[in-house]
Subunit: 188 residues, 2 copies
DNA sequence: GTCTATACAGGGATAGAC
DNA sequence: GTCTATCCCTGTATAGAC
């Protein structure tokens, strides 16, 4: 029924949000159940273990980012314009980034420390961006260094997110994004 | 007595290591006690709460980094040489960075999500580096942009650490450090 | 200073009624 | 599909003997 589906998706949505804001381990079933307004018992009808929820959240994030990249391709006619969209993420999401960092980077960091089985899965979001950025740089005629450039752009984004989170400094984000955007012109 | 002092310092050392490798929240008293080879009960003679251990670890890290910067000032006669030392950290510590990321950045990220009282204290290590790098850039004659350059260098370091941790790619670290080192020559 | 024993809370997970 | 009740384990923290 539609009811079950709706509940399942509500759980994933709430878990996604809470994992981002509080971290995976720190988020309890009780907290997710409360957010969705269901009992803890009901919870287990939809997900057998906490790891299952994590896997579902990662799958949802992956799908969501894929859709985002498709939107960008529809909106931005040039590869450089698309790369610039990526560079601007910390600015676009500045409120959340300052409070909670980057959802992808912070989850990867946490799962690495937990030695969690889903570490590789979580990083597939990074790989999605990496491949996509590589393609954009290749389209700009930089095939041989496209992957290195892609990694460079993602690293920039992660560094900005981590420091913006630590210092809660919006001006810093603006400066860095501006600088990275200028850097990109050399490859257009 | 020397015995108590030694135990206390052993606890701090073990906690530091475990917080780095497993994360703060994920590290239990039992794990630290086992590492130091003392009973959990004895533990509480030295530290009343887990937060107290965290505070002690942060203080120890701060002191250790201060000593490191002093060593660099003794070893490297030029400000650029000193900045380069900082840029090379991800390479110098590449084994740990690939496995556990940056100790400063990952702790800051975790404490932000936990909304932990020691968040600001943990970030004082970032501030130490920021101030020190700013001074080095000022010595190079870039007073007006010294702080922005300092933040840029720290952000670079954090981005490299996060991605090196996610992808476990040593070649990536080499490339990025080389590139950042070349970037620095424009300011020498 | 170090130990054992134990209290207590919270979190993951299950059973079974409705 | 959703609920209540409950089990069990782990983790923090305390009490008190040695």
């Amino acid at each position: 029924m539609g009811g079950a589906r709706a509940t399942r998706e509500q759980i994933i949505e709430a878990a996604d949000r809470l994992f981002y804001r509080q971290g995976y381990e720190h988020t309890s079933f009780a907290a997710i159940a409360e957010a969705v307004q269901i009992s803890r018992g009901n919870f287990y009808y939809h997900f057998k273990t906490k790891d299952d929820i994590l896997a579902a959240v990662i799958t949802a994030r992956l799908a969501e980012r894929r859709r985002m990249l498709e939107r960008w391709e529809a909106e931005e006619p040039t590869p450089a314009g698309r790369i610039r969209k990526y560079i601007e993420i910390p600015l676009t999401n500045r409120a959340d980034v300052q409070m909670y960092g980057c959802p992808v980077g912070t989850l990867s960091t946490e799962l690495a420390k937990l030695n969690h089985a889903s570490f590789a899965e979580a990083n597939s979001v990074f790989t999605l961006f990496r491949t996509w950025l590589r393609d954009q740089f290749a389209l700009l005629g930089h095939e041989s260094e496209a992957d290195a450039l892609a990694m460079h752009v993602i690293a920039f984004s992660q560094g900005v997110a981590t420091l913006a989170n630590a210092f809660r400094d919006e001006g810093f984000i603006w400066r860095e994004v501006k600088q990275m955007s200028d850097w990109l012109t050399a490859y257009e």
